[in-house]
């Protein structure tokens, strides 16, 4: 069976990363912004795993384990903060969370 060349993984990973960055920049709902950040992390995970199999050493896969746990912790803290801000302001729209001015 033929294996998929590494470029394919990298293109997919780059695509996911760009979608994530674009989402962060243009979406206004804090939860959606958060999902886009998760997408960025997963893009990095994908390329780490791909490189790991390309180089034939397990470091990349170990890294992915840690990134997954960190991402979960980050999501937890993030959602908790979003809940806190929702209780205060009854909105999760990033544009309306604007006490501070430049």
């Amino acid at each position: 069976m033929l294996s998929i060349p590494i470029e394919y993984y990298l293109i997919l990973s780059a695509f996911m990363f760009i979608v994530g960055v674009t989402g962060v920049l243009i979406r206004r709902n804090a939860i959606v912004v958060f999902m886009c950040i998760e997408l960025m992390l997963n893009a990095a995970n994908l390329s780490l795993v791909a490189f790991s199999s390309y180089h034939g050493n397990p470091v990349g896969q170990i890294f992915v384990f840690f990134v997954m746990t960190v991402a979960a912790a980050e999501a937890t803290v993030g959602l908790a903060i979003i809940i806190a801000i929702f209780r205060n302001k009854l909105t999760v729209n990033v544009d309306e969370i604007n006490i501070f001015k430049w």
Binding site: M1, L2, T69, T76, L79
Partner: protein, 143 residues
């Protein structure tokens, strides 16, 4: 003749599935009669009249439980490699794993003690027949 790789076969399956679904939907659209009425366009809710918006906000306590679950769920990922190489490391590996689990358990105990696992719901008020009758009567009087 071009040789198909395994992935090529999967691609053909995907294309076939999409084409099939699109064609059947399109044929349906051509054949079916289109006579919408008010009743038909309403949201189906077990035959009852729908009440309120379908976009319900979940109780915020669900989120707290979900957050706690999320952390403990994902930490398990770190236990898989440990379990796989458990025998090679012997006592040393065992001690390290136990320390990790103890710290996790400490987090669990912390949440328990702080009352984040309590499902503090409002005291349920059993309906009393007289109240129901009274409220019915008052509504009738209004009419």
């Amino acid at each position: 003749m071009v040789m198909l790789t395994e992935f090529g076969k999967i691609l053909i399956f995907i294309i076939l599935a999409i084409v099939f679904v699109v064609i059947t939907l399109f044929l349906n659209k051509l054949i079916r009669p289109n006579r919408p009425t008010y009743e038909k366009k309403k949201v189906y809710e077990c035959g009852e009249n729908p009440e309120g918006s379908p976009w319900v906000k979940f109780n915020i306590r669900f989120y707290v439980v979900a957050l706690i679950f999320l952390i403990f769920d994902v930490e398990v990922v770190l236990l898989f490699p440990w379990a796989l190489t458990y025998k090679e490391f012997g006592v040393y590996g065992f001690v390290v794993g136990i320390i990790f689990l103890l710290i996790l358990a400490l987090g669990m105990a912390y949440e328990w003690r702080k009352g984040d696992l309590e499902w503090a719901r409002p005291e349920p008020k059993p309906p009393i027949l007289d109240d129901l009758l009274n409220s019915n009567k008052s509504e009738e009087r209004k009419k």
